[in-house]
């Protein structure tokens, strides 16, 4: 193996040394620590067949709860203006959350078959945010005959657009006055505006179905069969690297953008805090979505009950690294589980110099009962991603993806 020299901590030097020893002092090492003994193909096969491909199937199935003719969106549309409106709205919002959480798990395995389609499903990263005006405009245009959701920009589609349509309590549009389509929107009745939003929500959900179906087919043997490419013995190293790179979503998006930017600990926030850039501003389910990301991380890391990265790492004699990963992720998830107030509201409470300093302290020294939980969560996530950047890439023998090579925080 090669010891990566661009790692950040001195500790890794010791790790490299111990890996070398484990590889060189054969008499001291049992056969399970022999890198050649680990079946990489079996791990990839397990991850493809037990984690990745089923995740898209599950997502599609869950989408049905929204899109079916008797699904919750249509039911809500039908109930607008009736006594049952509130109940059906609650149901459709609950279904949205279930769908969104399933997708958030898949964010940890954004591989080739999905990467281009992913933007149409969950267009959220450092450079992409929902265009609410675009949704407002589109839902009016959607009343016309020649409208196609798929022709709209990706920042007007996907799960964020669906969240906006189903959760935003204000019925007014969000466009500047220059947008002609929305100019008379605010004069329309509440029931009409709710109805149009609901009808458009159904179109968005169906568009999600189309994109996800394509992503699924890209993997399937009967489809474009990326599975075969993924498991091709010639591509094992590439596939492991691709999976490893995908795990860094936890670093570059979850830690930096979903949490770090919002609490003002990332360079992309130029104010003390940026609560307006929270991932889930209307449903206020950011914590739930981040928890799903962590579940997705564990799914790839542990491979369910079969072979995953933890087995690969253990095979090289570093079971204690697995223990640290599992413990750190569990700590972060426990912190999330203990929150009863949304991340957005908690960040809005960081509203003076003293609070900003307390946030920085919570991030630097995260604890189970911090003053500002989002800041502590950033700290916990950093502990996980620091381990990814050092021990993980060294043991798995991959490089840091370029996007994760600087912290910006």
């Amino acid at each position: 193996m090669s010891c990566i020299l661009n790692v950040k901590t001195i500790g890794i030097i010791g790790l490299c040394w111990s890996v070398l020893l484990s590889g060189c002092v054969g008499g001291e090492t049992d056969s399970s620590a022999d890198p050649d003994a680990f079946d990489n193909t079996a791990m990839l096969k397990n991850l493809a067949d037990s984690v990745v491909i089923p995740s898209y199937t599950a997502f599609l199935n869950q989408l049905d709860t929204l899109t079916a003719t008797t699904g919750s969106i249509q039911s809500y549309c039908d109930a607008i203006g009736t006594a049952e409106e509130a109940a059906f709205k609650t149901q459709v919002q609950s279904d949205w959350l279930s769908v969104a959480q399933l997708w958030q798990q898949t964010e940890l395995w954004q591989l080739d078959p999905v990467s281009t389609l992913r933007n149409a499903i969950q267009p959220f990263d450092e450079d992409t945010a929902l265009s609410t005006c675009g949704v407002d405009q589109a839902l009016i245009l959607a009343q016309g005959l020649d409208f196609e959701v798929a022709t709209r920009a990706v920042n007007q589609r996907g799960l964020p657009a669906l969240e906006y349509l189903l959760f935003n309590t204000s019925l007014d549009h969000t466009c500047p006055s220059q947008i002609s389509e929305t100019q008379d929107w605010n004069t329309r009745s509440d029931s009409e505006r709710k109805q149009w939003r609901c009808e458009y929500a159904l179109q968005i959900a169906v568009d999600l179905q189309v994109s996800t179906t394509q992503a699924t087919q890209n993997w399937e043997v009967e489809g474009n069969n990326y599975r075969s490419t993924f498991l091709d013995p010639q591509n094992i190293s590439t596939s492991i690297t691709a999976l490893s790179d995908a795990l860094f979503y936890l670093d570059t998006v979850v830690k930096d953008i979903k949490v770090g930017r919002v609490v003002g600990l990332h360079s992309s926030c130029s104010s003390d805090i940026c609560p307006e850039q929270v991932e889930s501003p209307y449903a206020e389910q950011s914590y739930a979505l981040i928890d799903s990301n962590l579940q997705g991380f564990l799914a790839v890391y542990q491979g369910g009950s079969e072979s995953g990265f933890d087995d690969l790492i253990a095979s090289k004699g570093f079971a204690e690294v697995n223990d640290r990963f599992i413990q750190l992720v569990a700590t972060a998830r426990t912190l999330i589980a203990n929150q009863s107030v949304s991340l957005k509201q908690q960040v809005q409470a960081i509203n003076d110099t003293q609070a900003v300093q307390a946030c920085a302290n919570d991030a630097a020294n995260p604890s189970p009962n911090p003053t500002h939980p989002p800041c502590a969560l950033q700290g916990y996530l950093k502990q996980v991603t620091d381990l990814l950047k050092t021990d993980f890439v060294t043991i798995v023998n991959t490089d840091l993806p370029q996007s994760a090579q600087s912290d910006n925080d």
Binding site: S131, C133, G134, Q137, R152, A153, N155, Q156, C175, P176, S177, Q178, I179, S180, S270
Partner: protein, 529 residues
């Protein structure tokens, strides 16, 4: 002695030796050259003549390709044929045109705020961001509404007809590339700034200030000496009580932080040697296209050299040119992509027209654009030699520095206007409400343009080419101007200014003097611009 002089020197010695003529006969070489040696009779023997068929005693070779201009003319218009697609133009910069139109339409919106608006401040900010943070996904389908009285504008009517996507915010210094905040420091404005200010933050601050001013339901009170005049500024709601005209500040700052920055710090810094290869299947090279984009940000019409200065500025002239545009292709439409003068290209003409001692910023800048583009197009096969690369870079530098002179001379012009406005103060009061409005306007133009001087890597404040001038001098200039004018009552931004208006005038003259030195401006021009 340069090479050409050495050539003449040896030719002279040879001529003297051959003819035994007098050393007083300076024309000996030319007169004694036989027609077979010098077919065009320009005094340069054919073997050494860079254009043997046409007389060109000056041997001028603007594009440094070894062929004289007399045989290899520099185009007079910014028009270059594709080397890859027969019958197509190699020139394209529609995105830059679209951004000029955005700035123009944003300015129209600002000008429309003649009275307080009964809407929330955020509504105003959203309207401004329609242009600044232009979202092609929602707005390309809207009419751009760029109109010229009595003319039909093309392309249109939609924004997407000019170009799809594009925004101003995405191209402001620092947002496109962090490195375009040159030296890692954006400076020159303190009010509202944090410890690490950026140009986009200043624009947002301007927007917020303006939106507050436009929606707060109150008009600034201005104490004037004219008892017949109202003391309430009720007809221009984009000016605040301390004399800042946000319509001017926003427009002029965007010209610097977006168009000037992009042209000089981004596109002129392309690696033209490696990038002069075809851009995909487009009819141009990547390098040529980058050059076009710099030209597009400068804003000149393709036949800019055919206009008089007064025509470019839309002041007077031949009927077909007099309003700053010209139907070059005679199709009865005014094409904003090629037939209209935008942005800083008009400032060059204004300063040339206003020069006491003649300047020709318009021709200097435009010719540099022409020559550089010709070299790139002539060599649109990816084989730019070191000499050709040097020639392109030299022209880029001329264009960038002349472009900056146009801006700097405009700053001088507005310093003079501010000082003139201040001379109308009477006993600590404005002469009248117009006096206040003029001061606010002129000060904002001065400051808005001056902030832009920091975005050019070839600025004399950055190159070290001018003795005793460096970036601290530009910081000093901006500091002397302050974040608001000194008003008739001797206050600046609500605080008594030490030394009052007299000291502020001294400060502005000091700033003007630094500009004069940095750009080697003629003293009479500086006095009179």
């Amino acid at each position: 002695m340069n090479l050409r002089n050495m050539f003449f020197f040896f030719l002279l010695i040879f001529g003297l030796a051959a003819c035994g003529g007098s050393s007083n006969n300076d024309d000996a070489t030319a007169q004694n050259t036989t027609s077979s040696d010098d077919q065009d009779g320009d005094g340069i023997v054919d073997g050494s003549d860079n254009c043997p068929s046409t007389a060109n005693a000056d041997q001028k070779d603007s594009d440094s390709n070894g062929e004289g201009d007399a045989c290899d003319a520099i185009p007079t218009q910014y028009s270059f044929d594709s080397k890859f697609t027969a019958g197509e133009s190699a020139v394209s910069y529609t995105g830059q045109t679209k951004r000029h139109v955005m700035i123009d339409k944003l300015t129209d919106l600002l000008v429309s705020f003649t009275s307080d608006q009964a809407v929330a401040a955020q509504t105003i900010i959203d309207q401004l961001n329609f242009f600044f943070r232009f979202d092609g996904g929602t707005s390309d389908s809207q009419n751009h509404e760029f109109a010229i009285t009595g003319q039909t504008v093309t392309p249109g009517p939609l924004w997407s007809d000019i170009s799809t996507g594009k925004s101003l915010s995405g191209k402001i210094a620092g947002e496109d590339q962090e490195a375009h905040i040159l030296g890692g420091e954006f400076f020159g404005w303190q009010d509202g700034a944090d410890t690490n200010p950026t140009p986009i933050e200043l624009v947002d601050w301007f927007f917020t200030q303006l939106a507050t001013e436009v929606t707060n339901g109150t008009a600034p009170t201005v104490v004037t000496a004219d008892t017949s005049d109202t003391d309430q500024l009720t007809d221009l709601s984009y000016i605040d009580a301390v004399g800042r005209d946000y319509r001017q500040l926003i427009q002029k700052f965007l010209m610097g932080a977006v168009t000037f920055s992009q042209g000089t710090a981004d596109y002129f810094k392309t690696n033209f040697q490696t990038d002069n290869v075809q851009d995909g299947t487009n009819p141009y090279t990547s390098g040529g296209h980058d050059w076009d984009e710099a030209f597009g940000y400068f804003g000149a019409a393709r036949d800019y050299n055919d206009y008089t200065d007064n025509e470019i500025r839309g002041n007077s002239g031949r009927p077909e040119y007099e309003n700053g545009y010209h139907d070059l292709n005679g199709d009865g439409l005014i094409d904003v992509r090629s037939e209209f003068n935008f942005g800083n290209s008009t400032n060059c003409a204004k300063r040339d027209a206003g020069a006491t001692v003649a300047t020709d910023f318009t021709a200097q800048a435009f010719n540099a654009f022409l020559i550089g583009r010709k070299i790139l197009n002539d060599n649109a096969d990816g084989t730019l030699s070191d000499a050709e690369l040097s020639a392109v870079q030299a022209q880029a530098k001329i264009a960038a520095q002349t472009w900056e002179k146009c801006i700097a001379a405009t700053v001088v012009h507005y310093i003079n206007d501010v000082i003139s406005d201040m001379s109308n103060f009477t006993n600590g009061q404005f002469a009248d409400i117009a006096n206040f409005k003029n001061l606010a306007k002129h000060w904002a133009e001065m400051k808005g343009f001056a902030l832009g001087l920091q975005f050019n890597p070839e600025s004399p404040f950055r190159t070290g080419e001018v003795a005793n001038i460096d970036i601290d001098d530009l910081k000093q200039i901006l500091s002397l101007m302050g974040d608001a004018p000194v008003l008739a009552d001797g206050t600046q931004n609500g605080v008594a200014f030490t030394g009052g208006t007299a000291q502020y005038e001294v400060d502005l003259l000091s700033a003007r003097s630094l500009l004069q030195t940095a750009y080697a401006f003629d003293a009479q021009n500086v006095e009179n611009w």
